[in-house]
Amino acid sequence: MQITKEHIKMLDIIIKISIDNASRAFSKAIKHGALIELARTELVDVSEITEEMNNDFREMAGAMLQLNGALKGKLLFMIPFDGALVLQDYYMCSPQGTSTEFNEYTEATVQEIGNILASSIGNSLASDFGSTVLPTPPQIICDFAGTIFSSLILEEGMIQDKILLIEAKFKIYHSEIDSYFFLLLDIDTMEELLSKLEQSTRGT
C-alpha cells in the first residue's frame, strides 16, 4: 500500500480543519489575533526539503514533540529568537518590547505554544480518525533552523527518501513575526487510517 494522491487530498482537508482549531487555540493563548494557514501537505524528498531549510541561517527556538497512539508522527514549532521575544510579551500580556533577552521564560513560552498546538491538532485528528493521539511533552531545542529541522526528519529520512510533511505559516496580526510549523506523519499509520476512513465513507 502507498500514500496515493487521493489520500493526500483527504489528509489536506482533515489537516485544514485541525489547523483552524489550532489557530483559534493559539490566538486565545497569546490573547492576540493570529492565523495559521496550511501551506502544503505533500510527500517531499528529504534532500530537497532540507536544502530549502538550509538556506535559512537564522538561530531559532523549536518545540518538538512526538505523536503516539493510532496516529504516529512528530510536530515542530520553530521561531527565530527575536520572534520568540515578541511572542513571550503577547503570552505574558506584557507591553511589546518588555522581553529583551532570550532566557528560560522565552523557552517556556515556545514550549507552551508547542504544547497548545499539539493538543489542539492531536484532539482534532483523534476526532476525525476516531483514534487516539497522544502527544508527548514538548522538548525545546535552540539551534540553527536547518539543524533543528534535520533533527525532526532524521529518523524518517534514514529509512526512506520521501516523507509526508505538512507545513503551515503563522501570521500574528500587526507583527512581522514569521515562524515555522511542521507536522511529520508516519506514512504507514497514516495510510492505514486514511484507508479505513475511505472505506467507512464509501460504506455510508
Binding site: 534532500s47 535559512d56 540553527f144 539543524t147 527518501d161
Partner: protein, 162 residues
C-alpha cells in the same frame, strides 16, 4: 520557506551531495550528520557530502546518505564529471554532534558517523587536513571553491576558518 536565491551559492540538503567550481560557495547546516568537504586546490573544484549514517548495509535509498557509499560517490563525481584530480583531493570534516533526538537510539549517531567517515577517507587515500566534529550543537559550514577555505560556525559561537 525562506529562500535565498544567489547563483553563486549552492546548498546541500541532508543525504545529498554537490560539486561546484570556482567561484561558487557550497554550504549546509549540520547536526549529527557529517559534512565531508573535498577540494582540488589546483583545479579549484569543491565537493560537499551531507551524510546521515555510517553504513548502508542492506538499506535502500540514496547512496549519498551513507559514509561508505557516499564518499566514493562524491569522489567519483568530482573526478569524472568535474575533472578533479583525485591525487590532489584533501578532506575536511565537520558536524557529528550529539544532538537532541526524541529516539534515544539515535542519540550518538554523530560519533559513529565521524568514525566511519575517517575510516573511509583513509581507505580512499584522502588526507583529512581539518576536522571539527562532536559537541552538542549544530554547525553551519561553507566552502569557498576559489580558496578551499571552509568557514564553520557552531551555534552560539563565532565563525572559524579551516
Amino acid at each position: 520557506m525562506r529562500l535565498i536565491v544567489d547563483e553563486n551559492i549552492v546548498t546541500v540538503g541532508v543525504g545529498d551531495l554537490k560539486v561546484a567550481k570556482s567561484p561558487k560557495t557550497i554550504k549546509t547546516s549540520l547536526g549529527s550528520c557529517i559534512g565531508v568537504v573535498l577540494y582540488d586546490n589546483i583545479n579549484k573544484i569543491g565537493g560537499m557530502l551531507h551524510l546521515m549514517l555510517p553504513k548502508r548495509n542492506d538499506r535502500e535509498g540514496k547512496l549519498s546518505k551513507y559514509a561508505d557509499t557516499g564518499i566514493p560517490l562524491l569522489i567519483d563525481l568530482m573526478v569524472k564529471q568535474a575533472n578533479a584530480n583525485k591525487k590532489l583531493l584533501t578532506a575536511k570534516i565537520f558536524g557529528g554532534a550529539k544532538m537532541f533526538n526524541i529516539n534515544s537510539e539515535l542519540f550518538d549517531i554523530g560519533k559513529a558517523n565521524a568514525i566511519e567517515t575517517k575510516k573511509i577517507l583513509e581507505k580512499m587515500n584522502i588526507s583529512i587536513i581539518a576536522a571539527k566534529t562532536g559537541g552538542t550543537k549544530g554547525s553551519q559550514i561553507s566552502i569557498d571553491t576559489n580558496t578551499g577555505i571552509v568557514r564553520c560556525r557552531i551555534f552560539g559561537g563565532q565563525a572559524e576558518e579551516y
